[in-house]
Symmetry: C2
Subunit: 322 residues, 2 copies
């Protein structure tokens, strides 16, 4: 990975966050310690802590609190990934074996629980009650989103459902991160709300782009077959655009009737149709609009290296891999 | 179950707790709502919320906060049971089907996570930062205890290990409950510490008695085969006493060499030997000593119906089923 410029203003802070993350299981069972080290070394880019650190520094938050907040956010994210991988039966994440590929399901469930507990403890250490409640609410939103997706029939064509899903899955945590960074800063409510919106738009764009990359990425890069969501009957933004412009494609019927798993060759052809259509560009254009709104939120924020880095981060989210 | 007198002073508060518990999934997916109702209707005695309510009322805690605390404690307990039953593959709890007997493992994992999130949210609503940290720490203690037990070889003969295990499993949450009730009350640090100790002793005795009932209870009552811990190679207090007084029992070798699952007939004979020995009375006597220490903690606490009910609760813990 090429080092991105937006990490630069918080290079040292990121090292402090890393140290704080790695010591979270120091007083626990040695195998749990080892599991945490494995999880933290699994190549996450630390986009979320970087977002929190940049927002906090831009707005003048106390140093100690932004470090703790950034660590809490990354740990919460890590905990949800541990349970996600278990639920999906995923054996690799970013090319590295998942915890459940090496551990029993019981140990994996409990490791996720332990990380939730430590994330909550870190959040409490910011000494900010409203932040604690926001943190707990965000976890509930994420988990409720996953449960809803689990219970929902596949082949559901609904923009509203799509936006709710990506909010729960990705945007809620980035929204919380930017908002919480403002909450621990000496700024007024209007700034907190603007930063919340900044994080929201960033997060929505982030997941839209992930969903586009699922179609356009190379299998080796994404680590999953091209169009893996659609192959599993999950309709994301590119497919929504495709359906709007090609309502008569006969392969769509297979999808909408929930027969996607029985007719994989139809679904593979549909993936190729979406890839070859305007739907990819349309989806990308929608993600870019989110990023434009995010950049507008930054307009009146304090100038400086952190402000510039947040702009770079926003642009990176929509430009990566294109 | 015969209604116990110690519920009387907090009858109305328990109804408020119940209402607060049942509305925790109101804004979530309907299936999650139904799952929560099922879990809450599964016949728990509400010992933990009762403990919190009695302590809080005795010490003059604000009404709203003790209700919230009691609900948070019960929800945290419920969340850990959901993941426990999944891990153990238990299909019944208190004679009622567990969540994992009816739901897929993914849905069960996520339901537990959702309950953790809501418990944390409730804890935050007490508006007490130290309580939040204590809450998160207690969850970490419980989960670390489960992980340690998972990783540990069976047939381990160690009192220290036993006490650590029952602290993590049961006493930590009761300790937290009594301590937190004091923290939200207008009392000084010394009282908080005494109430912490009260909850600790109560919790240690509670689990010791549970471990004794595993030997002495009828299968129908306990819902598991008599001596189920020992049949699985898990050494609890009665077995520890038995080993000290019968070091030469040849059936013990099977256990200590970890061959318990290969030689079930030896383990069944060992269960009968423990049942017939003095070990049961010795273990019970140790639990009674814990309860004596708990009662001593109450000595200088405000008199009244709650004080008496806490004494009754302490006595009930060690006298149930004997």
């Amino acid at each position: 990975m090429i080092a991105q410029s937006f990490f630069a203003p918080v290079q040292r802070e990121l090292q402090e966050v890393e140290a704080l993350l790695h010591c979270q299981a120091n007083d626990a069972h040695p195998d749990l310690c080892a599991a945490l080290d494995h999880l933290l070394s699994s190549g996450g880019k630390r986009i979320r802590p970087t977002l929190g650190l940049l927002c906090g520094r831009m707005l003048g938050a106390p140093h100690d609190k932004i470090i703790i907040l950034a660590a809490a956010v990354e740990l919460l994210h890590t905990a949800t990934l541990v349970h996600d991988d278990l639920i999906d039966g995923a054996l690799l994440r970013r090319g590295i074996p998942t915890l459940n590929a090496q551990w029993s399901p019981p140990a994996t469930v409990l490791t996720g629980d332990f990380l939730f507990a430590r994330a909550a403890k870190l959040a409490a250490e910011t000494d900010h009650l409203a932040l604690m409640k926001l943190f707990a609410d965000t976890l509930a939103t994420i988990v409720n989103g996953e449960l809803t997706q689990l219970f929902q029939a596949r082949g559901l064509v609904s923009r509203e459902n799509y936006y709710q899903r990506i909010y729960a899955k990705t945007a809620s945590l980035m929204e919380m991160t930017a908002r919480a960074a403002a909450m621990i800063s000496p700024v007024d409510e209007a700034i907190v709300e603007t930063m919340r919106q900044f994080g929201y738009e960033l997060g929505m764009a982030f997941q839209m782009v992930d969903d586009i990359l699922d179609f356009t990425g190379e299998q080796a890069e994404v680590g999953k077959p091209v169009g893996s969501d659609l192959l599993q009957g999950l309709i994301t933004l590119p497919t929504l655009y495709y359906i709007e412009t090609h309502p008569d494609d006969p392969d769509l019927n297979i999808l909408l009737e929930g027969e996607y798993s029985a007719e994989p060759q139809h679904m593979e052809r549909l993936v190729q149709s979406v890839r070859a259509s305007q739907a990819i560009d349309q989806a990308l254009s929608e993600a870019r609009q989110s990023i434009e709104r995010a950049l507008a939120c930054l307009a009146n924020m304090p100038a400086g290296a952190e402000h510039q880095a947040l702009q770079a981060l926003a642009n990176y989210i929509v430009d990566r891999h294109f």
